[in-house]
């Protein structure tokens, strides 16, 4: 137990409280704990500052205790939902942080592409599996994704989230959802003007984002995919590509 807490976790940034901008928890106040490092390199990654090892110098090795202390400071010791994000947070040892937070009433949602499974997924409150569609340039390992769902078992509320850029991505989401018929589905149009990691506050194409959202709503309703949710990235509508909000 003590060893688990002493293990170092690579952190890119901790910020909030702000609202969750995506998926099942959209609109809910949260503190983001963004880990550094990823086993993927999606062509349209919107968090390269937490992915690309050329930003490694900005990452900090922290213990679960240190991270949780910062979460408590930001939230004035008032329990809230903590969003574990990345990069791929599943490649970090987060089990100790979750136990520590739970003992103080905090809750934890983790989002991952589902390539790496952990026993401690079962301790999460929400697990967002977000396999990446063809436009990302990545290949889905369906066995690993299934194993992630199984690691979580009956523990957290588990949902699927898909970023959709085009018709091929949409078809992928449709197929992937059919492989996991029990999981609620959240679709979001991709941000085709992702932030440059060297810039803190890049411009976005609001009209383009709105058009893509229209297109996705049309796809889903025309297709009669009535149990999929279609949502924008609310934080992008609110703050553009600004980081740390």
């Amino acid at each position: 137990m003590i060893e688990a807490y002493a293990e170092k976790i690579r952190i890119s940034e901790i910020f909030g409280p702000t609202i969750q901008g995506e998926g099942a928890l959209i609109g809910l106040p949260t503190v983001f704990v963004r880990t550094g490092g990823c086993d993927y390199r999606c062509s349209w990654c919107d968090s390269l500052h937490a992915v690309d090892s050329r930003f490694r110098a900005d990452w900090r090795a922290m213990t679960a205790e240190e991270i949780f202390q910062e979460v408590r400071r930001l939230s004035d010791d008032r329990p809230l939902m903590v969003s574990l994000s990345g990069g791929n947070p599943a490649i970090q040892p987060l089990g100790g942080l979750i136990r520590l937070g739970h003992s103080a009433g905090y809750r934890f949602a983790l989002e991952t592409q589902g390539t790496v499974c952990r026993d401690w997924f079962a301790d999460l409150d929400v697990l967002v599996l977000s396999p990446k569609p063809p436009s990302s340039g990545m290949e889905t390992d369906w066995e690993a994704l299934k194993a992630c769902q199984e690691s979580a078992a009956e523990g957290p509320r588990t949902v699927l989230k898909f970023v959709v850029f085009d018709a091929e991505d949409y078809a992928y989401a449709r197929d992937a959802a059919a492989r996991f018929p029990d999981l609620p589905v959240y679709l979001q149009p991709g941000n085709h003007t992702p932030p440059d990691p060297d810039e803190e506050d890049g411009l976005i194409d609001m009209d383009g984002l709105t058009r893509r959202l229209h297109w996705l709503v049309d796809k889903v309703t025309t297709d009669r995919w009535f149990d999929a949710h279609v949502l924008p990235q609310l934080h992008v509508l609110l703050w553009g590509n600004k980081r740390g909000v």
Copy 2:
């Protein structure tokens, strides 16, 4: 039973499938069944065409059978979430429609200000209680609101939704939520440029809406109100004040 189905329901419009733009079901495909008539006259009402009796000639008296036939036609007979909206849909006899829809696998969400309670609230899948804040010019009957929650009992998932225009509305929402500690809370900034009911597609003030959303996120996070959700009216961001989408 037969009598229940034969009772006439005043309908302003039936449209969809589109996505639900507000609250707990945001992003979910739905068909809207909007009833005509309301016991309130909110100063900023965004659905006057379904409220003001000068539009009564546009409303149609339909049986549950006729309404459900239209819902089935619009959804190609594929069960989905039906949104019962108004006006105040609670003043219409909707119990028969809900039974009919359930027998075919459809689900029902109803939104009301909580002034009129019905036994059939318990048959709903989702009940949205949306008491109106001071800026509406209306007075809340707290006893009636409580009775609505009790009518629903353990049946539907019941949530609170508040439209917030200003600090006074925010304080009202805070107080009202404290009276119902078990109910999840959804806050949304009000549309300060609501549609003129004689116009099909009025302009909106997107910058103003975004500013109001920023303000509300700030209020909630500064206040450490960590279990309230803050959401925009997604359909307004997508379609402005256009009707029937």
